[in-house]
């Protein structure tokens, strides 16, 4: 009897994963749309219903991306966190400059809160996408043998 498919090492390029990058990119798109809506009303106070809905949807998708990532086994977590922490630093600075501009322009109260929530989602979305994209093509340290298809729930 020959060995089953699991015995054949899956090349990193063909290994299948859950749609973490896609889900998180949609989350990023939603907060970008929310930001555009709010910016289009500046300097007036924008209506907040749609931006809040977009921010909530973006947060849910971000959490879904985190949940999908957290369940990945085997996965190169060392590389994931190495990339994530530096990308997080870069995008926290980027989000901080944008937040500073809004605060400087006297955005206050609920609109400022919505902007800050969107910036937090943005500052987490991008590092998650970058770190996942890098780590998915890496072999976990010390892992020998085949790398399974993890695109479906166990």
């Amino acid at each position: 009897m020959s060995a089953g498919p699991a015995a054949v090492p899956a090349p990193p390029a063909s290994r299948r994963f859950p749609p973490v990058a896609e889900v998180t990119t949609v989350s990023l798109g939603l907060v970008v749309i929310g930001g555009i809506l709010m910016a289009s009303y500046a300097p007036r106070r924008p209506p907040l219903a749609v931006p809040v809905a977009l921010a909530v949807a973006g947060a849910v998708l971000l959490l879904a991306g985190c949940w999908l990532t957290a369940r990945l086994r085997p996965f190169d977590w060392d590389r994931f966190f190495l990339v994530f922490r530096w990308a997080l630093l870069a995008y926290v600075i980027s989000a901080g400059v944008i937040a500073f501009a809004f605060i400087k322009d006297h955005t206050r109260g609920a609109p400022l809160a919505v902007v800050l929530v969107m910036l937090v989602i943005y500052a987490l979305d991008v590092p998650l996408i970058i770190a996942f994209t890098v780590a998915r093509y890496s072999s976990p340290a010390g892992h020998a043998g085949s790398l399974p298809d993890v695109s479906q729930p166990a």
Binding site: P11, P12, A13, S14, A21, T24, T25, L28, G29, V32, I33, G35, I36, A39, S40, A42, P43, R44, R79, L82, V83, W86, A87, A90, I93, S94, V97, I98, F100, A101, K104, D105, D125, V126, I129, I130, F132, T133, V134, Y137, S138
Partner: protein, 203 residues
Amino acid sequence: MTDVSNLQAGTAGPAQAPARPRLQVVPLRGLPIVAAVVAFVIAAIAGNWLWALTFCHVVGGGLWTAIDLFVGLIVGPILGRLSLPARAEFTARFMPKMVLLMPTLVLMTLATGFQLALKLGNLSPASPNHGWLVVSYCVVGVMAVIALGVLEPANIAVLFEMRKPEPDGAVIALLMRRFVLTAGITGVMQVATLIIMTRVATQ
């Protein structure tokens, strides 16, 4: 950051690459320049300083648009016709610079552009430029999602792949294909940006 920086890059097996270039995912020597640019942008916004805001927006936006179009329309097609080792060597030297350059230009352009529009009254609904600026937000939004969600992750993943002792050509080819697929979209968006900004400047 040391584990990100001083690592060997290679594009083929050791026998084919006797002198592989050292590859830094993030060029550390560029970080002080980025810090200086970010500090200047913050100072311009904090001081509501018209010349500095205009300088940052025009220089940042001009470079962003020009580099996007030049890389997408000129460098990209040339790169596609090079041999695989030449393409890999070019990529190993080119992409780390883009990792620092493009996010800095984008931040510089957008942060000062919004402040400038506010200061000049272009964001007011009564301004003839208001509609054009909202369209420009949409154009920038599409480019931001493509750049942050597709291009930059692929760029950094390629660099990490090329740092491996034996990079996987299939992974690099898969990731580089994203550049080709999105170059057309960002090219159209950048042309739209040029039209919008020249309209705004002349109304």
